[in-house]
Amino acid sequence: MEIKGYIEVDIQKCKGCQLCATVCPKAVIGYSDKTNDKGYYYAIMVNEDCIGCGNCAIVCPDSVITAYRAAKK
């Protein structure tokens, strides 16, 4: 199945501040139940609705997220 977009989270660098989640138009981002090495509940994708807008990536203060959007054919 083709998807519209996705994100990659650099888990160990995430500080669990949730700013990414507040700016996601599709409520794609949720939080892990385990903590990373720093002790934060890190950002994860909780559904496949990502449209690759990059909002989460640009607001993340720690540059944790890389955002991808399906290339136009």
Binding site: G52, G54, N55
Partner: protein
């Protein structure tokens, strides 16, 4: 933005990825927009390919370690003196863009004289003013920019304007100077604002490279730790209080001493 990758047989454009910052983890508290400012600045440096032509000054305040993150030559100033260092640099390196990053204690309190005079002389530097209405690094004391009634560790009953005056609106002051060519107030609490902030930084860097006068970008920011709020609560307070008192937008887009 032309970078494309293939994953599971499908092609994707890279919409956003980490710029060429140094590898160190930033020490900023979770959710603090200090990090956003530096990464956007680094993006602009990368995109313009001017790493060899920009010199920065970090303040005393939470951004003191900016030189551990930014990937360009940097100097560390004494508390409040960043604009004086930047003046010294720019005067002997006129072909370079020169920036300062400064908190509100650094810029609007102890370094107000240095800031105003640099703007008045029209030094072609970029002043990145992180206004979080509090002294973050020293544990959340009142700053000149603290809002009326705002509780801080040194205004436990809320800032009383009778005792401490009203918040200082530095951008409004420096916009009056002939020396400034660009004065703007931006935020980074959502993607729209973060993108605008980046545009503002681009413009300011151009101004500095072309010696057009002082560019003053106030980033109305947050300080979850100093405000004693969770990151998520701080985003709300940021929008409901800070952005109301410090409205966003350009205060001036042309000027400089001709």
């Amino acid at each position: 933005m032309a970078e494309t990758i293939t994953k599971n047989g499908q092609e994707f454009d890279v919409v956003w990825k980490k710029p060429n910052l140094q590898k160190n983890d930033m020490h900023y508290c979770p959710g603090c927009a200090h990090g956003t400012l530096e990464k956007l600045l680094q993006e602009v440096i990368d995109e313009k390919g001017i790493q060899h032509q920009i010199i920065g000054v970090s303040p005393v305040g939470c951004a003191v370690f900016a030189y551990d993150y930014m990937n360009c030559d940097m100097q560390e100033a004494a508390h409040g003196r960043a604009c004086a260092l930047a003046t010294g640099i720019k005067r002997v390196m006129p072909e370079h863009a020169v920036f300062t990053i400064q908190g509100d204690g650094d810029l609007a309190s102890i370094g107000l004289a240095e800031t105003l005079h640099a703007c008045n002389r029209g030094e072609s530097i970029i002043i990145l003013f992180y206004n979080n209405a509090i002294y973050g690094m020293t544990g959340g004391q009142m700053a000149p920019t603290t809002l009326p009634g705002q509780i801080t560790s040194s205004s436990p009953d809320g800032r009383d304007p009778k005792l401490s005056g009203m918040p200082l609106k530095v951008a409004n002051i420096v916009k009056e100077f002939d020396g400034t060519c660009y004065v703007t107030r931006q935020a980074a609490n959502n993607a729209v604002n973060a993108r605008k902030l980046k545009k503002a930084i681009e413009k300011a860097v151009d101004n500095s490279l072309n010696n057009r006068g002082t560019s003053f970008i106030e980033l109305v920011g947050n300080c979850p730790s100093g405000w004693k709020l969770t990151p998520v609560e701080s985003y709300k307070w940021w929008e409901e209080n800070m952005l109301k008192y410090y409205p966003l937008g350009d205060l001036k887009t042309e000027g400089g001493i001709k």
